[in-house]
């Protein structure tokens, strides 16, 4: 592409009062040789935007550098299709964080402009990479409330849907319950109503856009978003179908009640909440206890049976309190019967609080906080519930005809995860241990059987307890397999009402995925990004570092061991770029050379003037810096920030280049370590740290102090203290003295 450059400098938001705009313009015109350089009082105003648009139309400008505010704001105003647009952040990083009109402030603004014009010169116009034969079909796995609603939502939006259900009928858990909590007004309706699930099943089965596979499982899922080839096995026969995206709605399983023997499970007339539904359904609402079929007049409900307990399920299943209140109403269909609920806390989020109030208003629904210590026989099949610290007294016991344990939800993804984690651990101990593990460990039902280098199922995530979660803060629906979106109880504990709306969210994401791959844009989180990793394969040594480090399995190896991209799986983090020792992976606007060239332009005038280079993760550190600037925090003027898509893309050559050019110190701002921190790209920051461990060699070679380079973990909320952390580093470097390579 023939580039025609234009540089535009904004004077608004106090930039004009901090920086000498004329001198800054000369950087473009004289320093970088770009004659077309204009400034405007408010560049984001319609007049300012028109100024640029006119140049695009009349002058044919197609490579634009804008020196104004952070690229995180005004992105709609400064969007000029058909051009490459680079933005130098001289508002947040200069005007708002520096003393106005000093030599160092001016120099900082000039450096940013130079760096971004350099980037503009080095970069190229991205062309979308659109793969062929893309499918827009959505595969929904699981035919419960979440799955059926997902299927209906997608089908009603005009997409064809394949719905795979393991059981011979659709409906999931909703089939097993006697009544449900109404979704309308609790005050006017009875507190228990029919599930109506059969109507949903009917709608799904009769929908022209939905194809239902019952008694079916997924044998294999190959490919990538837009091109998933899924082999469905039903009744001994297999069929391979192509789909664009997957909604995982396989739900949950009740917690293994045999582990609840400390609450009396195993004794006669002690049942779980799921078994209780069965009793009510079977007897059409009458609560007949298992031991003798006698009507239970006193039913005790023990909440948090194994839940919020580090030895069982550390989390709250969120629906059991409401479920027990509902089941208490089953008991109360007999006006002489009482339901006694023993809770840690009643947790009925959202509108369910009103349900709690209504249910509690029933004279025969009795509640108390209690630490249940045990359940013992009281004779005649009756039971004593023993508890402490209740609202009724310090140590009390109560006799019941029947005890119901409010057991929690375990996601269907948990068992395969645990099995696979065990397998990995065994494999690490050697082939014998692995073989033994495979022989001795019962293999649970796998769900997706993904053909991924990283394993066949949704990976386990620290702190997610087996739920198909990846980043609940920013991307609640996305799993760690691009194109696979989770909905309902498999994602986090939820009730059917929530699962219903959750299904809609996951379907929206699946549709977005199909839409983006059709346009050749990243699916997420860089949802605007047309660039993609484009390796110079001729120099590839097949070292496989990229395939190992790619967090999303976007790089596979062919039979010869040569890596190749499944680009629709890629999230454009650039981890491969940082991983490649040959530095062959580039994006059109992001490469080792582009960043390296930007760094090389940083002026280091004399020995008295320090220059610090700071790489900042665009997802956490960079927004934190912007926020710090918004709070007018001061940052040492020697620091130059360079935004990285992810610190996982950090290449050590930049460090060597910068230090040998006389940069006095290098700071890396990555996100916090640990999976539960929810890094956008799984563990880019940790990878950078690992690579950084080898920086010692570079420093040794250059005979420089190790303290000149440092990595800090920053979260987006650290904006208050981040400037001080940076300034502290600068002071430390100043104590070490200037880089001896300066000026060489």
């Amino acid at each position: 592409m023939e580039k025609k450059y234009g540089v535009y400098i904004c004077k608004g938001c106090s930039i004009g009062e901090s920086v000498n705009i004329d001198k800054l313009s000369q950087i473009a015109t004289k320093g970088m040789g770009i004659p077309l350089c204009k400034s405007h009082d408010v560049l984001c105003s319609p007049e300012g935007i028109n100024l640029i648009k006119e140049d695009i139309q009349k002058e044919g400008v197609n490579a634009i550098a804008i020196a104004a505010c952070s690229p995180r704001v005004k992105f709609e105003e400064f969007d000029f299709p058909g051009t490459i647009t680079e933005r130098a952040n001289i508002r947040e990083f200069v005007a708002w964080t520096q003393e106005p009109n000093t030599e160092e402030t001016q120099s900082l603004a000039e450096d940013y402009l130079t760096m971004h014009i350099t980037k503009l010169k080095k970069g190229d116009m991205p062309e979308p990479n659109i793969l062929e034969n893309l499918s827009s079909t959505i595969l929904v796995v699981g035919g419960g409330v979440a799955g059926m609603n997902a299927a209906l939502d997608a089908a009603n939006a005009g997409y064809s849907v394949l719905l795979v259900e393991k059981e011979p009928q659709l409906g999931g858990f909703a089939n097993k319950v006697y009544k449900k909590i109404p979704t309308g007004e609790y005050f006017t309706e009875p507190l228990i109503v029919d599930t109506g699930i059969e109507n949903v099943i009917k709608s799904v089965e009769s929908h022209p856009n939905i194809k239902v596979y019952k008694s079916s499982i997924i044998e294999k899922t190959e490919g990538q978003p837009g091109l998933f080839d899924v082999t469905i096995s039903s009744n001994g026969s297999s069929e391979t179908v192509r789909t664009g995206a997957v909604v995982l709605a396989t739900g949950w399983k009740p917690y293994d009640a045999s582990k609840l023997d400390y609450l009396g499970y195993g004794k006669k007339n002690v049942v779980t909440n799921i078994e209780f539904e069965d009793i009510a359904k079977k007897n059409n609402g009458r609560i007949l206890r298992p031991s003798d079929g006698k009507e239970a007049k006193r039913v005790a409900f023990i909440q948090c049976a194994g839940q919020r307990d580090p030895n069982h399920l550390p989390y709250c299943s969120s629906m059991c309190c409401a479920t027990s209140l509902k089941q208490a109403k089953y008991v109360r269909q007999d006006k002489d019967a009482v339901a006694m609920i023993f809770y840690k806390d009643i947790r009925t989020p959202g509108r369910l609080e009103l349900y709690y109030k209504e249910a509690q208003n029933d004279p025969g629904v009795m509640l108390t906080k209690a630490d249940v210590k045990g359940v013992s026989d009281a004779g005649n099949g009756n039971l004593y519930v023993e508890m402490e610290n209740t609202l009724l007294g310090e140590k009390v016991k109560i006799e019941a005809d029947m005890v119901v344990l409010a057991a929690g939800m375990v996601p269907t993804t948990r068992a395969p995860q645990e099995y696979l984690d065990g397998l990995t651990a065994a494999a690490a101990k050697g082939d014998d241990a692995k073989k033994k593990y495979i022989e001795e460990t019962p293999k649970p039902d796998f769900i997706l059987n993904l053909n991924y280098k990283q394993g066949p199922e949704i990976p386990s995530l620290e702190g997610a307890y087996g739920f198909a979660d990846s980043n609940f803060i920013c991307f609640p629906y996305e799993t760690r397999r691009t194109g696979v979106y989770s909905a309902g109880g498999v994602k986090r504990p939820m009730d059917t009402t929530e699962a219903q709306s959750d299904a809609a969210g996951a379907v929206f994401k699946a549709i977005q995925c199909i839409d983006h791959v059709a346009k050749g844009i990243a699916v997420h989180p860089r949802t605007w990004d047309v660039t993609f990793p484009d390796p110079l394969m001729i120099r590839c040594t097949s070292c496989k570092r990229c395939t190992e480090e790619c967090p999303f399995g976007a790089i596979d190896e062919d039979e010869k061991g040569t890596p190749f991209y499944k680009v629709n799986r890629c999230r454009r983090c650039g981890t491969c770029m940082g991983a490649c020792p040959e530095r062959i992976v580039s994006f059109k606007d992001y490469s080792v050379d582009i960043i390296g060239s930007m760094i090389k332009t940083i002026e280091s005038p004399d020995e008295e003037t320090f220059r610090i280079l700071c790489f900042a993760c665009e997802n956490d550190a960079y927004p934190a810096l912007d926020t710090a600037a918004l709070h007018r925090k001061k940052i040492d003027p020697s620091v130059r920030f360079v935004s990285l898509r992810c610190l996982g893309g950090m290449n050590l050559v930049w460090v060597a280049d910068a230090l040998s050019k006389g940069i006095d110190g290098i700071l890396l701002l990555g996100c916090k370590f640990g999976e539960n921190y929810q890094c956008h790209f799984v563990k880019g920051s940790e990878l950078a740290n690992y690579r950084f461990g080898k920086v010692g060699e570079t420093l040794n070679r250059l005979q420089l102090e190790a303290e000149r380079v440092q990595m800090l973990q920053v979260s987006i909320t650290d904006y208050e203290k981040l400037p001080d952390m940076i300034n502290e580093f600068v002071e430390k470097v100043k104590e070490l003295g200037p880089n001896p390579f300066k000026g060489m």
């Binding site: 006694m340 004279p363 025969g364 509640l367 108390t368 023993e386 009724l392 007294g393 016991k397 109560i398």
Partner: protein, 381 residues
Amino acid sequence: MEQVIRPDLSFVNDVIASGGESLKKCYQCATCTVVCNVTPDSNPFPRKEMIWAQWGLRDKFIGNPDVWLCHQCNDCTAYCPRGAKPGEVIGAIRKQSIMQYSQPCFMARLVNDKKFMPLIFLLPAVLFAVVLTAIGKFTIPQGEIVFLKFVPVLLIQALFVPALGFGSLIGILGVRKYWKDMSNTRLSEKQAGGCLSCSTENIMNSVIATVQEVLAHQKFKKCDVAKDRFSAHFFVFYSFIALGIATAIGALYIDILDMPSPFKLGYGTPVKLFGTIGAIGLLIGVLLMISNRFKNAQKVGIGSYFDWLLITVIGVVMASGILSWVTRLANIPMLAYPIYFVHLISVFSLFVYLPYSKLSHIFYRVAAIVYAKYTGRDKTN
């Protein structure tokens, strides 16, 4: 020691039916005990009473002074975040306590059940009508209005002395049982090692302190939201005392000294002054009670049948008393005698239903206060 809890659904239903319909709304935040100015500091009410009642723990209320220590200021009700109205609920529990102690319990049920309301006024009316008919007096007498012409002294003595005696006796028997239960509860707490007040004070000192407290209306002064209850109760209380004195002097004149009735027209005596002051005080007190109920209805609820029955009976006593006096002065026999008849019935009802109506707090609350003082329960730190 481990306690066995035995929920009794019928007790829950009884409390709800007696004006505690908000009972089940309580979720045990304990705001009520925090805002209550009347409760002792240790093991305060009414939070614990709320959950006991929710669980139908009838036994917990046997031998418990706390429900009677409550003066129904209704600060708890005003501040309750869930509208559980603890003050009203405790009132309903007190009603249950009356049924427990005032024998025979069918009488308590009769008095406190809305559907028997016509009956409880009809019964004495019929009784009076029958007796008056039997002695041939159930007509309006001729000449100057003298109520004794209509109902002879002897008949009044024969009906009212036993009525008051019956009411008092039942009340005293109830208190005896209540006291015994409180002692037993304390004993078993002591044995369990969980005794709240193991030492006892001098009983006479406790009684004296209680009398002082009651006369000064100390507890009512602590009420916050319904602070007007102090003056209402004060007027009603002292008016009854004034009326009681007037009646006693009247009885002294007529029955003992065999002198003419001091209430005779045109026969000015200090006794009449007592009666007049009492009547006017009662009028003010009752009006205050009614207006307070309406004024605070938003915050604390309008009250239950249990409350209104007593207000009604006292109101009728007051109104028929004043009206029979006025109609006698105006010399309208056609009104004066029937109103006097109503007055007699209402006073009779007041006496005979004394231990069963809300008025029985004369016995039980006083007993509870004495007991609390006696056992040190009443101490605030």
